[in-house]
Symmetry: C2
Subunit: 303 residues, 2 copies
Amino acid sequence: MSIHSREQVGQLIDGKAIARALTEQIGQEVTSFIGQGNPLPGLAVVLVGNDPASEVYVKNKAIQTHRAGMRSFMHMLPESTTQDELLDLIEQLNANPRIHGILVQLPLPRQIDPVVVTNAIAPHKDVDGLGEVNAGRLALGTEGIVPCTPLGCLMLLKSVHQDLTGKHAVVIGASNLVGKPMAQLLLKENCTVSVGHIHTKDVRGLAREGDLLVVATGKHGLVRGDWIKPGATVIDVGITRVPTPEGRTRLVGDVAFDEAVKVAGHITPVPGGVGPMTIACLLHNTLQAAKVTQKIIRGSDVG
Amino acid sequence: MSIHSREQVGQLIDGKAIARALTEQIGQEVTSFIGQGNPLPGLAVVLVGNDPASEVYVKNKAIQTHRAGMRSFMHMLPESTTQDELLDLIEQLNANPRIHGILVQLPLPRQIDPVVVTNAIAPHKDVDGLGEVNAGRLALGTEGIVPCTPLGCLMLLKSVHQDLTGKHAVVIGASNLVGKPMAQLLLKENCTVSVGHIHTKDVRGLAREGDLLVVATGKHGLVRGDWIKPGATVIDVGITRVPTPEGRTRLVGDVAFDEAVKVAGHITPVPGGVGPMTIACLLHNTLQAAKVTQKIIRGSDVG
């Protein structure tokens, strides 16, 4: 025994390893799916314009899809694409039996309404889960496609806790992409759920109530050590590139990691936490979509 | 000044009066809507089976619709109706231009899946707002039809507070009918939102955090005086008939009113609180649906 008390250190949740295991499992399921006489699951990724960050994301998605044994279709459209042109493409992809998942990379150029485009994707091919039908299915607790990032966060939480029932989950950030679907998912897991955001008066006090704390605000370093309930499980969705004193840059999350790790029971690092899960969940959703589509083709009423 | 401190009494939120004012306003809007050359808004109410309580509800809805100057269509089907027969009727009602709102009274007989039936109603005619498309629109914060009871609760809250931004709203009960859509609505109003339910460990402690407290559990008398933050606004959605010591019956809510009224700033009575608002909101939704349908007919892309 040491005389000096050792600093408490939360355990890292290794998103990279968990995502790798999930991706491997998906690869095996794809093999078995094809072995049963089903077609290769196919994901169509649509990029409009030349945003460099989006180009990187889209390329990574295509590579990962291919590595998981699925077929990847890329559609790179010029910045000047009209909404009607994009809707025409989506209609073709909806009708194409080789394509089971459709993803339109956001953001879109100004002349295109992302809500209209997202809702034009057939619900059973909406592998981002961002359309109104899938949002409704999540809200009502029926079967649907769950947005990738909150789904990944849930998997990370479940890597720590087998059963989330009765835990107080606090979600900071109320976006359609993460915070709101995350809250729905956690309700479905029988958590008590609180959602805080920019208008919350005592967000620190709220955060401190969380046995589970999911942070998705885009404000790097927002959540300090004293925002965290001792022993809580902390999922940091934020990822921002910031300059270092040495004149370089590094990626940081919404949680002040060095402080938080001393208080939390389990915590995701940034990078290497939620990030790798998002793309693994996209593959997961694509395979699920392929399974549902095959059921529809066989005459089931799912869809 | 009295020597004895007067017992603190929360102000009553008079749902009956607010519903009456809303119904009158809807009546005027209907008149003006027709005056602009639009057809009479029409609500089709479908009842399957002979549940006496449902018969009373359905009759009341028809009478109120008629009183608000709208057209009411009743479809009473036998208990033995098959799901396909009901879906056929809904298809006809979806296609009928004289019908702007469709309501299928729940519960349905066992042979019929309420989820399939609810989702078969065209989203722009789903005046109960219970289908997946409207649930998704509510979740995403886009325009849609909001379920009547939570919409009524929101109107009652807004009769007390013009702006709900930053208030901590606690919802007890997480049903698809009330608790979950209520939470979404309150998030849209920029409230910090917490949802508690049967699995919540310290529901009393959670309830006490609420500047706004909405209770919809169906457990009469659950919420005691010491569950309420002093000065909070309390909305009691519950309504249960219980026997009195005199051998009669009376209606009570989920909140122990006599205790709560001493702590709350504002509180709804039961009956005469949320109940009258639900039916007024159905009329509101029917008129809104008629307005949207007319826009669709005129070639707008709403719907």
